[in-house]
Structure formats: structure tokens, C-alpha cells
Subunit: 209 residues, 4 copies
DNA sequence: TATGAATGAGACTTCATTCAT
DNA sequence: GATGAATGAAGTCTCATTCAT
């Protein structure tokens, strides 16, 4: 439940020998993150994980399955951690949003390869994969939606807010911020951007009257 | 200077016959847009364009060059059209932003394949390509930056706005909106979202006191 | 140290199964020898060796590497065998030269494909390969040079002999003899030419006074 | 009849527009000589010759025909020039041999590309081409044979000389000398080697008793 | 004659996946 | 479970040759 490990969310069957399962996922994040999905041969991932090529197929159906699994673990971690944070600020939409951004930047800030993977290379998926991706990512969207709803109902956010659009603004801004961060070399602390990002989300661009 | 056509910028040579050049680019947008860069063999692009495989290499240095060329044409068009729009609202930052969103949604709204290409598949590039992509995309960023600056200086936007963050919010929100639109099947009119998107960008989430 | 096998020198890796490594080299000698380097597709070599195309790349870096490897094995064999022969006639330059010719004709005489490969198709290399070829072939040149030097110092060969030219005469004459032999169909025993070739090298054309 | 040009030996039909014919051959010698047969696209030869790709096929049946034609012209020139030289030393085998070497080194010494072409890249031919090459080269062999015969009959060369072997020694030594010269960068005057080469051919290696 | 755009066969090479050990 | 050698489909790109202009 802490979200720092890939272990918890595995089923019992998969828990057997999860050392290798995790090693492969970690290796895949690193290799794909740095080289891109189509420049990351299974053989390279296996070597990085310290296992044989064939072993990968004992833990994953195929290469796509690795991609999906990484996303599942990542989103799982994200949702776990954010949920944990939100419980302690129950009802405070503004603070919830701030925590959301904080956790998001934290998770990717300490793992640029994972950021690169999620923001950049995950897109290299075909139509049928995107369906699965959508399903996996939904709980995360839900959290954002809940925060927005909470804000509107509590009067902190505008009544007229278009909820879908607001979610895309939040998601898109964080996404773009992380993408810019890695594409410019991950040279500064992503954490330092939590407040300005939060500020522009909440306050918008306009000068208040 | 019209920006509506692929004609202006020639890559390999000033071919007499740019019909084929454009046909290949159009085909590439379609095939890559639908299947993804790495699932779009040259042979498929060539067939879609109605030319032989080898012909593609008379107009483009290699496969990457096609990707780069599409982006160059697209950004060129985008910049041309937005610049045109902005001239008629000289100095009005809010209106400029609205026009930016309008043009952005217009261009991609009529060409979901192009949207898919730009929003999704363009990311499937390696490190050295991203350098080129960065160079090409810069003029577009510049336009957004100019609008922000204009807004701040004219007092329409907040003085305290972090310009980099603001740009990422604008870019990320539009990007995410278009991405969501195509990933859900491009079923509604993208144009209908101009106002709500503009609204959340300018007003932010918070209820005014 | 026996020089009769391709086993000793490993290029890519110390493969457990060098049966395939040798099978591919043998197939390459045959196919390239008969068709020429640029008319010998990897697919043909693989088929001749009884392996899949991709297997070739488990044992060789690329097509050039095959060429280089064959040369290395051949020169290795040649040098080993000649060295062995020369040990038993230590100091006798004339006899050494005769043994050199004998071994040279022996090796190529039993393998016309290898002769064809070495004499004819090896030349089809680009500039950078020729550098490597030069390095590999050097020990062989050295042996010839040593024989010449030995002959001069022992007074068997003329003091005034230009050593470089002498080496080229020896090498060129053997080379041309083998080339002519294969280009005319390898119909006679190459061995039968050892003495006349030796004779013309040592005695030259002129009638002694 | 001077052998310095490609013009004379053309038939009347081919003489029409022989400027282009010669330009293409010259270009081919240069491009193939420097890059090798299989790295010398027709397009490159055409560009070097200042004609269109298609024009090449008005003068040559195909790419192989260019190779053959160059050889024919070269051997033609060689035979013409040597024949001319030999007429002035009628009957003197030793002097004839010296003139042979001189002309050989002269022709290739002033044109390293042609040397590279003949010594190195011409070998990149397939079986059926080699038949043609043999036919073309025969008159040149004939000249060498004649010199040898003349030497034996006049008592200048040994009675016991094996004529075939002697020819191969002469040819192989010149060939190897020129090859070594170009492969080491054509840095010295090939002419300077005429005498030492002649010397080793005639005197052989042995110290006279 | 001359052009050069167009063709498409075919080359080299990579790599996801399988399977005997 | 674990291995890694082997496979072969598929991809990118080159280039000899043709043909409409």
C-alpha cells in the first residue's frame, strides 16, 4: 500500500519469484526510458535485468505486456500514494490539488527513466493497446475528477467549471511540465515547480480585478 | 505564406513535380497517424501515396526525414495562420489567446490523422531527432511566449505569472484536449471547446472572491 | 597450432557450438568463391551452411566480418604450415622457398573455392577493409621477407637483390600461377608446378653465361 | 594508333558522338577506380561524366559492358604502345622485356585510378564476364609470349624455360608491383622500379656461381 | 539523341519469439 | 523454472534499368 514497490499489487500466482518479475520491469523502465520502445530489444532488457531472453517470456506474455505492466504498476503506485495523501486533507480541494501535483512530481522527479517512459515512449502504442491503457489510467483520472468535484461543491472552484476541460488542464499541465523537464535533461528539481504550477492552475492567467 | 499547403518548404530538392512530394507526405500523415511511426512501413506509405517504394527516397532522405518534414510543414502552417490571425488583434492578449486556441483546434479538428501524428506519434523519436524537433517547434513556442508577455505587459495577465509555466499550461492544455478528442474517436466538434478551454486557461479553477 | 582447422580464432564469441561457425565459413568460401562477394547474398551463404539467415549474425558481426574471418583463418593456416615446414630446413633459403611454394600450392590446390576467394574476390573490398586485410596478411609477408633475407645473408641469393621487389616477384608469381590455374578450371595438379615455378624464381629468365 | 586516346579503336558507328562515349568511360575509370565496382552507381558515373543516367545506356548495354569496354580500351592502348616500342628493338628480347615493363608502368603510373581499376576492381566480375575478359586480354599475353619465345630462340633466355610459367612470372611480378604501388598510396614514381623489376625477372634470385 | 523521374527487385540486418536442453 | 541458440519475417534503403517526354 505504500506504492514504493511493485510487489504489493501482484496476485499470489505472480508473487512466486517476483524478484525476477520486478527486475525485468525495472530493467524495462530503464532501457525503454532511455532508448525508446522500438529501440529496446528484449535481449537488452533481459541483460539489464540479469536474466536470459527466454525468461522474460515466463513472466510476460509478450513485449507489449511489459509496457502495459509498467503502466499498471506506475498508475497503481500513483493512485495509492495520492489516495494516501488525500485522506489526510479530506475535503480541502485546493490542498488536495497541491498534494496531487506534489506526488506526481515526486514520483517522476526521482526517476527520469520512468518519466521518459510514461510521458514519451508510452505513446508508441497501437490502437488496441490504447484501449487497455485507457482502462488502466481511469482510476487516476477519477482521482482528479474527484478533486475537481470536491472543489466545485465546496465552493472553492467555480461553479461554471467544465469538469472535463478542467481535468485536461490539470493533467495536460503536469504532463507538459514533466515532459519539458526530462527533454531538457532533468537538470533542476521538479519539486521546485509544484507551487508555480499549482498557482497557474488555480489562478489562471488573468489579473484579478 | 498562405500556410495551407505543403508546397513552400522543399527538403531534398526543388522537384518540378511536387504532386508526389505532397502525396507522400499526405500518405505518411495518414498511415503514421493511424498505425504509429514504427508500425508504418515505407511500403505502406508508398502504396497509400500511389508510388513505388523507391520513389519515396527521391523525395526524402530517409524515414526520419518524412517525420521531420511533416512536422515542419505542420508547424509552418500553424505559425503562418496564427500570425495572420494575431495581426488583426494587435495588442489584445486575451483575444490573441482565443485566436491561438481557435486556429490550433481548427487545424487539427479537420485532420484527425494529423492530430494523431503530432500529438501521439511524433514522440516516437530518438534523442537526436528531438533536437531537430525542438528547433522546428521553437517559432510556435515563441508565439505563445509573445502572447503571454503581451498580456503581462498590458496588465491583462498577472504580473506574477511564471512565463515558462504559463506556456506549458497553455500548450499542455491544448495538447491534452486534442489528444483526448482523437483518442475518444473525434466524435464531436473540436471547435466547440475553444471557449471552455480559453476560459479555464484565463480564469483558472478558483472561484473569484 | 595445427592450422588445419578454423577452430582456433574466435571472432564474435567463444561459441560452444563452433560447428555452425565453421559451417558458415565453409559455406561462405564456397559461395563467395564461386559467385563473388557482391553476388553472394547472406541468404545464399546461410542456405549453403544449413542455417537461417539470422544465425549468420550470431557468429559474425556483418558480411565484411565473414570476409575478414576467412582471410584470417586462411593466412593463419598458411603461416602455421609454412612455419612448421621451415623449422625443418632452418637456414636453407633455397629449400625454404621451395617449401613455401609447396605449401601455398597445396593449400589452394585442394580447395579451388578458397583459391578463388583469396586470389580473386578478396580484392572486392573497400578502402577501410584493405587496412585490416593488410594487417592480417603481414605475418605472411614477413615469412617471405625472412626467406629472402636468409638467402642474401647466406650468400645463396644475390647481394644486390632489392628485397621489396623480390618479395613481390615471389608473391606475384605464385598468385598469378594459382589464379591462372583456377581461371582455366583447375584441371591439372597445382603441385606439378612447384618445381618450374621455383626454378624461374631462382634462376630468372636469362641463360647463364 | 598512339594509344593515348580512346578514340581510334572505335568503330565508325560508335564514333558518332564519341565525346560522350569517352567521357563516360573516363568517368567510370575514375569512379570505379576510387570506389569499387559495386560502390559505383551508374548515377555517380553519369554525374561525373556530365550526362544523364539514361544517356549511359545509349552508349553501353549495361554496367558490365562499361567494365568490359574499359578493359578493351586499356588493353588496346597497352598493346598498341608496346607493339610500337617493340618494333624499334626488333629481335632484342632483353630490351623488349625492359620496354614492356616501361610501358606498363608508364600507363598505370600516370593514372592511378586506371591502375586501381585494372588491378583491383576488375576482379569483381562473375564467371561469364571472365570469359570475355580472357578474350580481350589474350593479345597482351601474346606479346609477352612472343618476347619469351624470341629470347629463348635467340639464346638470351634459357632453353629450359617453361614458357607458361615465365609469362606468369612476368605478368604476376608487374601486376603485384603496380598493385602494391597503388595500395600504398601511389607515393613514389612507378618508373623508378623498371630496372630492379627487370633485373629480378631476368637474373632471378640466385647468386651466379 | 538526351533526359531524369520512376520503378521494384533484392540486399543487409534486426529482433520478437520459440523450444530443446 | 531457466536458458540462450536459433529462427525467419519484416524493415529500410540502394541502384540498375526503363521510358515518356
Amino acid at each position: 500500500m505504500n506504492g514504493y514497490s511493485f510487489i504489493e499489487v501482484r496476485t499470489i500466482a505472480q508473487k512466486k519469484n517476483n524478484e525476477k518479475y520486478e527486475a525485468i520491469l525495472r530493467a524495462a523502465v530503464k532501457v525503454i526510458g532511455q532508448a525508446g520502445y522500438h529501440n529496446a530489444p528484449i535481449s537488452k532488457i533481459a541483460r539489464e535485468a540479469g536474466v536470459a531472453d527466454g525468461t522474460v517470456y515466463l513472466y510476460f506474455k509478450n513485449k507489449e505486456d511489459i509496457l502495459i505492466s509498467i503502466l499498471r504498476e506506475t498508475i497503481g503506485t500513483l493512485v495509492d500514494r495520492i489516495s494516501g495523501e488525500l485522506r489526510s486533507v479530506e475535503g480541502d480541494a485546493a490542498e488536495s490539488l497541491k498534494r496531487l501535483i506534489t506526488v506526481y512530481f515526486e514520483i517522476f522527479g526521482v526517476n527520469p527513466d520512468l518519466a521518459m517512459f510514461t510521458q514519451v515512449h508510452l505513446r508508441q502504442s497501437n490502437a488496441e493497446m490504447r484501449k487497455q491503457i485507457g482502462d488502466i489510467i481511469r482510476p487516476y483520472y477519477q482521482i482528479i475528477d474527484n478533486i475537481i468535484l470536491m472543489g466545485i461543491e465546496s465552493g472553492v472552484f467555480r461553479q461554471s467549471t467544465d469538469k472535463r476541460i478542467a481535468r485536461r488542464m490539470i493533467f495536460g499541465t503536469m504532463d507538459e511540465t514533466v515532459t519539458a523537464w526530462i527533454l531538457t535533461g532533468a537538470k533542476y528539481e521538479l519539486q521546485s515547480l509544484v507551487l508555480p504550477v499549482y498557482d497557474v492552475m488555480v489562478g489562471g492567467l488573468c489579473a484579478k480585478p
